[in-house]
Amino acid sequence: MKRLVFAALVLLSATVARADVAPGDVIGKDNFAKAKDLVGPGVAWCVDHGMTMKIVPTKAVEWPRAYREATEAHSAQVRMSEKGDMLENYVAGMPFPTVDPNDPQAATKIMWNYQYKPLLTDDVLMRDFQVPSGPLTYSAPMVLDREFMIGDLRRLYFNGRIFVDPKPDLPNPDAVRYKEILSPVVAPFDMKGVGQLGIRYLSASRQDDTWLYVPAIRRIRRMSTAQRSDSLFGQDTDQDSYWGFSGHIAWSDWKLLGVKDVLGVVHREHYRPQRCPGGADFVYCDNWEKRRAYVIEGTSRLPQYAYGKRVLYIDTEAWIVLASDIYDKRGELWKVWLEYFSYRKQATPESKVVYDDEMGFTSAVMIDTQMDHATLIMIPGPASPDQETWYFNKGASAVSPYAPGNTEEVFTIPHLMSAGH
């Protein structure tokens, strides 16, 4: 009898070990066992609260040709500074294309690769998008607390540039990595006109600079870096969580937990993200595929940091964050960030903008699992009039009603002031 039980257990464990998903599967709470080894606690939490995942075949993500060439030309010379807080001899492309998981510095190198990922090299503009947030009941659609409608979100990189002249660096006396401007918030009325300018420096020894234009006080207000991990205007998102992680690499200690297959959204079907029906509308329902990912744990060195740690799932091919599990200081899961990428050469078949390479159009969600609250970043949202919404590496031609392009003059305090109403 004992032998029979043992044999049954062995058989059962073998079945569990083979648990896997296949294209065509729709993973939900009922059949989650098939996917449990392929997701982190955050995605598991979402499935447990109503999210479904339609599994599709894995599809490759090609690097842009210019990025590939830059990597081949310059990566051999790149070194990390002694403290690991800066790259030395970096020109463009991926700094460490070959990472040995046994290298004691593997995690930090992976994070520098993520920082210099192929998707964001020169500049990007996201236009006319929506950021709704609200409480979760899991049984009925979200009733919005707040919905911010954003005019422009722009980022301009000052080094590692491969598409737009001047390359590889913009004139850079202040040693800037990138500048980012969100301006303006167009709705709701109490937030209308808010704008924010941020500067990330190459050296970790210089903290970010951030200024906020507040229409209610009619002027620019300087912000502390401590607010980068704080919820923005009370929503669930924080600046350091944008793109999965947007903090300075050198302000955290990184640990490589492993390399494994996970499920992620890299080839979203719907360009305009579709929220799941009913009480699961805190996430989008779209295509998930099996991806190879580095699992990296980051612990901030900054005092006043909101989170205890983050676990990032970084795609080994596209070098994007697929998902991020964020823990509080007690070590309990607090927030989940999910990216919904769609690699394609044009936003929609009707798009006028066609890229030579596939670009990663994305939308995201951030869920506060402790407060049962979520924020969706919908690029484009249902009300976005601009079909393209995303503009990669368009430089001066990334024009909108709010700014004349992704040029240096737009990423300044004077521009933030003159654009403020």
């Binding site: 236009r127 006319d128 409480p135 009733v143 919005l144 607390d145 707040r146 919905e147 409608m149 005019g151 006396p173 202040d174 167009v186 709705a187 709701p188 009325f189 109490d190 209308k192 903290q207 600079d209 951030t210 200024w211 229409p215 209610a216 006080i217 009619r218 002027r219 207000r221 300087r222 912000m223 502390s224 870096t225 401590a226 607010q227 704080d230 919820s231 205007f233 009370g234 929503q235 669930d236 005092p303 006043q304 909101a306 609250h373 924020t375 009300a383 976005s384 009039p385 601009d386 024009v399 009603p401 004349p404 240096e408 003059e409 300044t412 305090i413 004077p414 002031m417 003159s418 109403h421």
Partner: protein
Amino acid sequence: MEIRTRREGATAGLLFAVVVLAASHTQALPRYGPLEVAGNVSAQNLIRMTDVDQYSLVQERNTFKLRVDYAIFEQGKLANQFDVPFIDRGKLFLLYRGVYDSVYHITPGIAQKDIYGQKIPQRLDGFTDSQRTALAFDNQLREAYLDLTFKTLPLTLRLGRQQIVWGETDNFRLLDRVNALDLTWHLQQESWDELRQPYWMIKGLVDFDRVGGLAPLSNSFLEFYWNPGDWSPAKKDFLPRPWSAPINNPLINSQAPPGGGRGLLNILNTQTRFKVNSLFNHTVLFHQGNYARNPMDNSQFGVRFGAVTPQGVQFTLNYFYQRWAGGDDGTNAAAYRAILDTKQALDGLARGEAPLEAIFPYVNTAGFSLNYAEEEHTQTVFRMESIYEFGVPFSDASKHFPPNGALALLARDVFGVTTRDMWKGTLAFDRPTWIRAVNEKSTVLLLGQFFWHYLLNNPNILCKDPKEQPPCAGSGQAKGFRGQFSTSGISSTGIPGVGAVIDKVRDWEALVTLGATTFYRGGKFVPFLIYVIDPVNNFNMEVIWMADYFVTNNIIVNLSQRYFINTVNHPVYESWGVAGINRGRSETGLRLTYQF
């Protein structure tokens, strides 16, 4: 007047209907792109808590705002069709605000006292119908300007009716002095965005980063403005209006003695052979000085240079040449002067003008502001601002009418003016702080400000009789400055010397503000706590709490309470607008807003 106010009422009613209609079609309003339309309607009710058992409705204000942004020039084209030389982009901005405060028609009894502690028997229903209607309605094009960005020049222009805010301070002003305040709305207990008087102005901004920058500085710019005459001083009003200076009108006070004074103009009319009906040169107290509202007579100008140093310090250097607004920055300055030249005074009297002139002289102001985010040790943003003002006017007791002349009656109440320089400044900090016992999910933003005013060469107060001490009730004041609430008794009790007060103009004034705010439930609930204390004037203080609750993205409920706390029973003559001026004006407010 009545026709005008009725028309205003009709306009407000029509706009209210439009907004209700618009609100029901909010999804159809253009949000993105060249044309944006947005706005809100709100109703604010304020209950004044004069004492523990005395409550009165003092405000029932309904406000409608409509904002239109229109990108008239884009990429060098007008309306996306016609090429325009020189101009790259241009945006038209309009903001309308319509107000109806029904308290002037409800006319509730409001128990009020003046700053001297005397009850004010006048009620709102003492105003005529047309006066009340005029007070109840307020229609303003708050802003109407065109932003222009030039193709080849590193210049942007803002042309039109606008507000300009410089500096680093919150709710008390130093460099924020371009637009004087309208203190009749709710004194200063409201967002200053609502209180500043917009003017027709030209503002320019030269962005040096567009032409290579000014290394090693970054984000460098030169900003300037010119107000070609459309300037008016800080608006103040008198009792019985709920949001007035806490005194009766010292010129035309109708309150009869002994409970009240008689008003200086009344005194002239009743006790001398002169008949007057206006101030000298037809000036108007708190409204109009001896100038025409044109570029030659009333221009204002200001310029500032700003940049960020390589060390991360953001700074501005500022200069203003503009008229003295009347002390809306907490300065105890003179609002009028006596016409001491006998011939001028008699000529004025012959024209029916009192020998008393409302004054708003030009003042030169130089200053700077700076801020720095210190991240390594304190994670705090430090802010600082300081100005030096040349020639601020003060009422000078040593400059008075001859005691034996025709105007001796005014010799103890109306004085000439002496100008002095002032140094003012603020030190402030903003620190986001995790206080997990208060909020586990978001930081608490702590804000602190310390303000100071220093008056250079402030003369000592002396009575005419050297044996007498201030308030010099017997002999009168011989020397020293007199603050805005000073009275010999004539204009307050009607009896010389009885109730005499010297509102001392101090060398140093100081104020401390502390604030805290945070977000709960994903920004659904936003509380704010503020504490203000004036350590110079008997530690009078103000405690405010308010909370915004977003019922939905469109509906906001705001609940607030303000407590004005005095530590002494006698009047406190302070000029910041804290509890001395607002004694007995603690209030509870409820505001409902629908935004679209």
